[in-house]
């Protein structure tokens, strides 16, 4: 992958992957940071990326793992200042256009949420979702069915149109 190929890949994929990771983790700032970092790692490993069949899937998976790892560590982080050696960066405010949908997705079990996002938002066929998460296709179909049913119930409970009015 050379410079021009990477730039084209980044410009074409960044917003899409960002939205997908946002839907998976429910935190827009975190998603943006993790996707930027995942693209940087893709460039750092550009020789390896040349042999990757689906670079966008590689970036998405890397970003998701980064996000999950950071979330785990954040669990211990809500205590008073001690050994800070810098100041935190300011991020732009969160775009809350889809906050209700994402909030509903966050209530799904992680495996169902991941399947829903990859199939319905990343638009991957079921067999590719199965490959990306390392589960059989039958399992993915079951997760999709259960996830959609739960999501329908969650969304039915909200005030009609609230998603868009909150934007």
């Amino acid at each position: 992958m050379d410079e021009n190929e990477f730039d084209a890949f980044y410009n074409a994929s960044y917003r899409r992957v960002c939205a997908q990771v946002y839907a998976m983790i429910g935190d827009f700032d975190e998603a943006a940071e993790c996707v930027q970092e995942a693209f940087a790692r893709a460039w750092a490993h550009r020789r390896k990326m040349s042999s990757v069949d689906y670079p966008e899937a590689w970036v998405r998976t890397t970003a998701y793992r980064l996000a999950v790892g950071r979330w785990r560590r954040k669990k211990y982080a809500s205590r008073a200042a001690d050994r800070a050696v810098g100041v935190k960066m300011e991020m732009p405010p969160v775009d809350e256009t889809h906050v209700a949908l994402v909030a509903a997705l966050k209530q799904l079990p992680e495996a169902q949420r991941q399947a829903i996002v990859l199939h319905h938002i990343a638009d991957l066929p079921v067999h590719q979702v199965a490959t990306e998460v390392g589960a059989p296709t039958g399992t993915i179909k079951a997760r999709l069915a259960r996830g959609r049913a739960t999501l329908a119930e969650l969304l039915a409970d909200e005030r009609p149109g609230a998603v868009w009015k909150e934007a």
Binding site: E3, A84, E158
Partner: protein, 514 residues
């Protein structure tokens, strides 16, 4: 009931706008990651290789004669230029911290180099009289310069041992940097502004250096008081997208060994190149790096073994470990400590001798400021068969997974699930796994919330296992940049330090298996 599919379709069609850096900025960040990983992996092996990098044919006293330029064989000048695609564009990340410090430069006898001045840019006067073009003229994104003089401890002056100046510059790409290096090297060899005579040349290689050489010329001084034919030695080195020009000027005198002077400049140039890319220069061979390894946990390195496979060369040195930033600009430096009778891993369930390795070497490092704030423990194990190594890997993996911590008294707070990780080494390892454990820190009997955060790693390549702990103290917060950490970037420096430690230790341990 609301239709979730239409809502999901709408989400996909109406992708939320995310703040987006330019592709150039992302590539620059990627180049930083790559440079750091590459530099750390090779740093440990640099010093010795650099010092003996090729035959040195040098005619210090042969004024007016043309020295042979021993073009070094390919194996001694690793990769002319890294065959990477064109590099990064964007704002320079170079700072004064990328300049060498006095300790990086080798001084003769009991003398030492002292820093005299540092400039942002290349200073007001010529830093090298052989070069008519500055690095700024060559479209460098940033340049910095630091001048040095021999310290007062030796009864000698500039005419004996000289002055040194170091200029570092960052360019848009590794290819642009290599082009500049080639031009500067040619100019340094001919030194036309002084009508100089070539006196010798030699390569600079090893560690982070992509390509480099030293050219030495002498010339007739116009100074009527000069008692020697002055000499200018110019080292020009490229490492990724950065160029170092290290210039030493002195009067050529017989009583100073030319071998020593040129070799010292060669080592100084390698050290300065490491500093230029943000890596601690490799420790000299006679420093703690080569002191005896800890006694083997599996003392079966035994009498019956035909010939030892493992030795000190498989153990990381302190200079290859990442610095730990402290408040302000300071940082703590790792110190190798005397061999310890301690477990390598906090989660270890038994002494490593139970793994029944054929050989074992280990080493420990500590960071103090002034209390203990960091620990690195490493053990390298060699097994007689792949199956034995596989079994030991599974045992260690199980320790990481369940964290029995039966070798420790400190209370376990939390152990993360063990995860597979990638470690960028050459040769590539078979597999590696890592977990993070948090446990109570020592407060000297006082109640406190001090906590150790231990990243414990096991890596395997064939019959060899590497066990590594990178531990940093914290409490109440983990050792993140901000406390409490709120932004993902607050974790990145900690992540990078752990990755650097793992890559340096594992890379060093398996380097002979290629």
């Amino acid at each position: 009931m609301s239709d979730p599919i239409s809502r999901l379709d709408q989400f996909r069609a109406d992708t939320p706008g995310a703040p987006m850096k330019s592709a150039a900025e992302v590539r620059q960040r990627g180049d930083q990651i790559r440079r750091r990983r590459r530099a750390v992996v090779v740093a440990g092996a640099a010093a010795v290789a650099a010092i003996v990098a090729g035959p040195i044919i040098f005619f210090s006293a042969g004024v007016g004669e043309r020295a042979l330029d021993p073009a070094p064989p390919p194996s001694e000048t690793p990769s002319t230029t890294t065959p990477s695609p064109s590099g990064s564009a964007g704002p320079s990340t170079m700072t004064r911290a990328d300049l060498p410090v006095a300790e990086d430069l080798i001084a003769p006898l009991e003398a030492s180099w002292g820093e005299t001045q540092t400039y942002d840019g290349e200073g007001g006067d010529a830093y090298n009289p052989c070069l008519t073009k500055t690095l700024g003229d060559s479209a460098a994104d940033a340049t910095f310069r630091r001048d040095f003089a021999i310290g007062p401890s030796l009864n000698a002056g500039v005419e004996d041992y000289g002055m040194m100046s170091a200029v570092v510059a960052e360019f848009r790409s590794p290819e642009a940097a290599e082009d500049v290096r080639a031009d500067l090297s040619t100019a340094a060899a001919s030194c036309t502004p002084l009508d100089a005579s070539p006196a010798g040349s030699l390569p600079v290689a090893g560690g982070v250096v992509s390509r480099g050489d030293i050219n030495v010329v002498t010339y007739v001084s116009n100074d009527p008081g000069a008692n020697a034919r002055p000499e200018i030695a110019t080292a020009v080195v490229v490492a990724e997208d950065r160029v170092l020009v290290l210039t030493r000027q002195r009067g050529a005198k017989e009583q100073v060994s030319s071998d020593f002077l040129q070799t010292s400049l060669q080592t100084s140039a390698v050290n300065a190149a490491h500093r230029m890319v943000g890596v601690e220069p490799p420790a000299p061979p006679d420093e703690p790096a080569s002191s005896p390894a800890s006694s083997s946990a599996s003392s079966s390195a035994s009498s019956s073994a035909p010939a030892a496979i493992l030795d000190d060369s498989h153990l990381v040195v302190a200079g290859s470990l990442p610095r730990l930033p402290l408040e302000g600009e300071s940082s703590a430096v790792w110190q190798q400590i005397a061999p310890q009778s301690i477990p390598t891993l906090y989660c270890q369930g038994a002494w490593l001798s139970t793994l029944k390795a054929a050989e074992s070497v280990s080493r420990e490092f500590r960071l103090e400021n002034p209390g203990e704030i960091g620990k690195v423990n490493v053990t390298v194990l060699e097994f007689t068969t792949k199956a034995a190594a596989d079994g030991a890997y599974e045992t260690v993996y199980d320790w990481l997974d369940t964290c029995p911590a039966s070798m420790n008294d400190a209370k376990l707070f939390k152990a993360e699930p063990v995860e597979s990780i990638e470690v960028d080494t050459s040769p590539a390892i078979d597999r590696a796994a890592q977990t993070l454990a948090e446990y109570a820190g020592d407060c000297g009997g006082q109640g406190c919330d001090a906590t150790w955060y231990d990243h414990q790693t096991v890596a395997q390549l064939g019959t060899r296992l590497v066990l590594v702990t990178h531990a940093e103290s914290g409490g109440p917060c983990p050792p993140t940049r901000a406390c409490p950490p709120e932004d993902p970037s607050d974790y990145s420096e900690w992540d990078n330090r752990v990755a650097q430690t793992v890559e340096a230790t594992v890379g060093r341990a398996v380097q002979d298996l290629s």
